[in-house]
Point group: C2
Chain length 334, copies 2
DNA sequence: GAGAAAAATGCAAAGGTTTGCATAAACTGT
DNA sequence: ACAGTTTATGCAAACCTTTGCATTTTTCTC
């Protein structure tokens, strides 16, 4: 049995031309049902699949979507936030379903060209960036000339790039309002507002505080997103502040977990002494002690939106940014 | 300014041949330094990069490594275990460093061809599979004919595929021995032993129990790996068992988190009433209340090993499986 | 059964690189 | 100034498909 290396080999074997084989394998109606099935059977038998690279070159598409995770506001290199695997899983499934591969790349933006490089490399048909981090202007610059780009994150007026995300400001507002309603006056925000989304969440907290006439009762601790780094900062903060906060709005569920642990170590009861609310609505929040209240974002829908919009952009359409409503989920920590 | 679409355009512009441009951009010594720099400058100026697909076709490599996560023993579709994002991050970094893209795919093995399909698609130069799940025999079958394949997971005698992982049996043994040393007699194992690695961890527990003469004091609760699903099972188990375990060996840190929460809800103190130890050594274990004891595996080293071995396999070398020693990390939960 | 229409297949170009080999240009030494 | 090297560049094949158009084969109609 000869080894079938390409379409030509199979064509010779079947006694037809290469073009016919190509069309037959693609299921083209141009080829008679009889030969079509004969060729398919032959291909199956020899385990032959047309070379993907040659195909890509010819039809001028890679069949791959790049997913980038910029870590601009991260000092550490690690990234263990379950948020990302949740989002990645959803994207991987959705893209596979649509016939695309997912090319993953983490980026620590040291220069301003990290995105250009990827775009120009021609390795993907489109790009999804997860989180703007502090790289909004670069995203805008590239989006101006490169259409198939969709970003998970916040939306601001005048933004050039197309984004999908929850209304972070509203989310922050919901979180702070909830704590205020529970009787907290002094509130602390844990998170680095340099990142666009987190800045918006903080803004939302400010809104709520202002409405309550408690503008000056909000303090900010720019804890790092990275769980392992956040804890010392949080511990120091709780130890130092003479005016201990009565409520904590954490910019993510993972930061909230760090907060829960630090509070436990200080012997403070949650929600008795301090109330805590996270952000993201991850599954892990169900497993904390006490179970974490949070502002949940619908990642399933978000991922679906991103994929849908990206494919439309690849097809040449234009799409508007999407801002989804976040939801307050009250569990045991507040 | 004309648009440079390919090497030929640039060649015409520079007044040289396409071959020269190709070599110049590749930095070949065959081309004089002068022309080399002139061409590079010209390429820069026009933002030109050689077409990746054409390149791939010509040199017969995709420059991509597939990373598959089979979810064979999972009932649910979700997968939020931080283990994966940690591993994925390490792999992404390592592969990027070596000039490879990472193509991610989650697989729910419904038939026996999920792996064949990916291998034969020709979209990648090599494959890393994370976790054997219950698909060991399929991995073996494919490994017999497809060399560039490395698997994260357990190792068993006679195994065909090349694996990298920690000594799960030893790890299970360490965990159980530790609990025994703390005075626990009745021990429960939380995890689905259908998955190869988890089965080995259970085996290790059995070893330790046997040495202590307590073979019959070990019970098994095949909780699902998925955090959100595990909790009800665990709660039911704790509620039902007349002989409540004094120690719990969880097959992963995430399962351990579920256990911690369930115990808290039953009003049981950890480690006072029940001692708990997890497996993986993830960062998240530092953030639980109480901080989680665990068996840690060195994922950084593991990822490095997998990449190294895979590249050697791509180069045609042969490689032996690697079994790394796990380490007992005692924190507050045991 | 001849001619026209329809159906099935073949031909060859195009997609953009890389690279072995051939050729041309620039040197070396005498 | 010339033969002999060395160095720099050009040529064209190869990588493997897909697809518009040309051509052959089949089917149908009268």
């Amino acid at each position: 049995m000869v080894k079938i290396r390409n379409i030509k080999d199979l064509a010779d074997l079947a006694g037809v031309s290469a073009g016919t084989v190509s069309r037959a394998l693609a299921g083209s109606e141009l080829i008679s049902l009889k030969t079509r099935e004969k060729i398919k059977a032959l291909a199956d038998e020899h385990g032959f699949r047309p070379n993907a690279m040659a195909r890509n070159l010819r039809i001028q598409r890679t069949g791959a979507i790049g997913v980038l995770i910029p870590l601009g506001h991260e000092t550490g290199q690690h990234i263990s936030d379950p948020f990302f695997i949740t989002m990645l899983g959803l994207l991987a499934d959705g893209l596979t379903e649509r016939g695309y591969d997912l090319v993953l790349s983490r980026v620590i933006p040291t220069d301003s060209e990290w995105l250009e490089r990827f775009v120009d490399s021609g390795r993907v048909d489109g790009l999804i960036v997860i989180g703007q981090s502090n790289q909004s202007s670069i995203l805008d610059a590239v989006a101006a000339r490169y259409r198939p780009l969709v970003v998970w994150g916040g939306h601001v007026a005048g933004q050039v790039h197309c984004s999908v995300g929850s209304d972070n400001r509203l989310g922050g507002d919901l979180a702070a309002s909830h704590l205020l309603a529970q009787g907290c006056h002094r509130i602390a925000f844990f998170g680095d507002p340099t990142a666009l989304e987190l800045g918006q969440r903080l803004q939302g907290c400010r809104d709520a505080m202002r409405r309550a006439g408690l503008d000056d009762q909000l303090t900010v601790l720019p804890a790092h997103l990275v769980a392992e780094d956040a804890h010392p900062d949080i511990a120091r903060f709780l130890g130092a502040s003479s005016q201990r906060p009565q409520g904590i709005v954490a910019a993510s569920d993972v930061i909230a977990m760090s907060a829960l642990r630090a509070l436990a170590e200080f012997g403070l009861a949650v929600p008795g002494d301090v109330r805590v609310i996270g952000y993201d609505g991850l599954a892990i929040g169900e497993q904390t002690v006490p179970r974490l209240s949070t502002i949940s974002q619908d990642l399933t829908q978000g991922a679906a939106h991103m994929i849908d919009m990206l494919l439309r952009r690849i097809a040449g359409e234009d799409t508007e940014s999407v801002v989804m409503p976040p939801h307050l989920v009250v569990r045991m920590s507040s």
